[in-house]
Symmetry: C2
Subunit: 204 residues, 2 copies
Amino acid sequence: MGDLPGKLTWKPGTVLHPLPVVLVGCGRIGTDANLITLAWTGIVCSEPPLLSISVRPSRHSHALILKHQVFTVNLPAATQATQVDWCGVKSGRDVDKFGHTGLTPLAGPQTGAPLVAECPVGLECRVVDSRSLGSHDLFIAEIVAVYADAALVDPDTQAFALERSAPLCYAHGNYYELGGYLGFFGFSVQKKPGKKAPGPPRRR
Amino acid sequence: MGDLPGKLTWKPGTVLHPLPVVLVGCGRIGTDANLITLAWTGIVCSEPPLLSISVRPSRHSHALILKHQVFTVNLPAATQATQVDWCGVKSGRDVDKFGHTGLTPLAGPQTGAPLVAECPVGLECRVVDSRSLGSHDLFIAEIVAVYADAALVDPDTQAFALERSAPLCYAHGNYYELGGYLGFFGFSVQKKPGKKAPGPPRRR
């Protein structure tokens, strides 16, 4: 046991879960388009909508993001775990990741960066700031466009229902599905029932 | 349909999933200890281990983090969804969140910031940088200590098994459990079977 009652003390490390695991598209279709799998990403601001990605300077995609100052963030479905994993292990210096995985690049209308057609959700992002933090460089980017499969619209309500994409989750080196629904933000103070539960995520 | 074949175009927004949803502890036990629920958090660097949180300047906790320059990040279990949600809806200006929820504050040995005893994992964090991004201020902080329940050790392997905490997940205003196991990082290029699957997460 450690410094606190009932707790083990670990050495400082990157302990946070669950995380999204995304396919970041960079470069240009026809010349240097590449994909990199990242879990070091998160939302950092609501207005304007900003996200961050952190990338090791040694990675092939790092130079592409620096050069073009734009990238895409593609949110995969759980069924795409093998392709996502493979793009995290291999380097774009050695292999054409779009060609090898069979994933289809679509030029982002706002940025020209390659979106992944097969991912249920894709974001186009424009870098607004970057800085070195140590092992990783942080890129803060504005989300300038969002694309989603039409299948993500709930046929009953016509509302967007992102959980219908059965997203891929990541936690400490392992991939998971998203599990059962527990409640909506604010449910703990809801006075009247009525908001419809979105139901469990489904495999696509 | 929108600008891309088969895709709907949405207005730019904070579309990223799944996200962790954490209880950030700030202030000092006995005086101004508070909790704030955040999903705008992520890992931004491995060495040193750094995470980010983004907080609206209007939030009560924002001033406490600015004042003390330390905070904790507590990773809740799915069974704690009600307490987590409540701490995201209420303000520490109006209510003692530890007292109301029954959650137990433990002073972090490294920082003095309040950890949540009942959360399976807790991190102590020291702010190393902050900046205004718009609606939210970004705090980048070093993870200086990690604590975990002894129950997170796998009895078979004696390895830490964070997925055993049955973590709480967040996606676009809804809370979920973590779902079924899909594979470990690198599984797509694994030549020989052998690595033990961690199995599905379990309710605590």
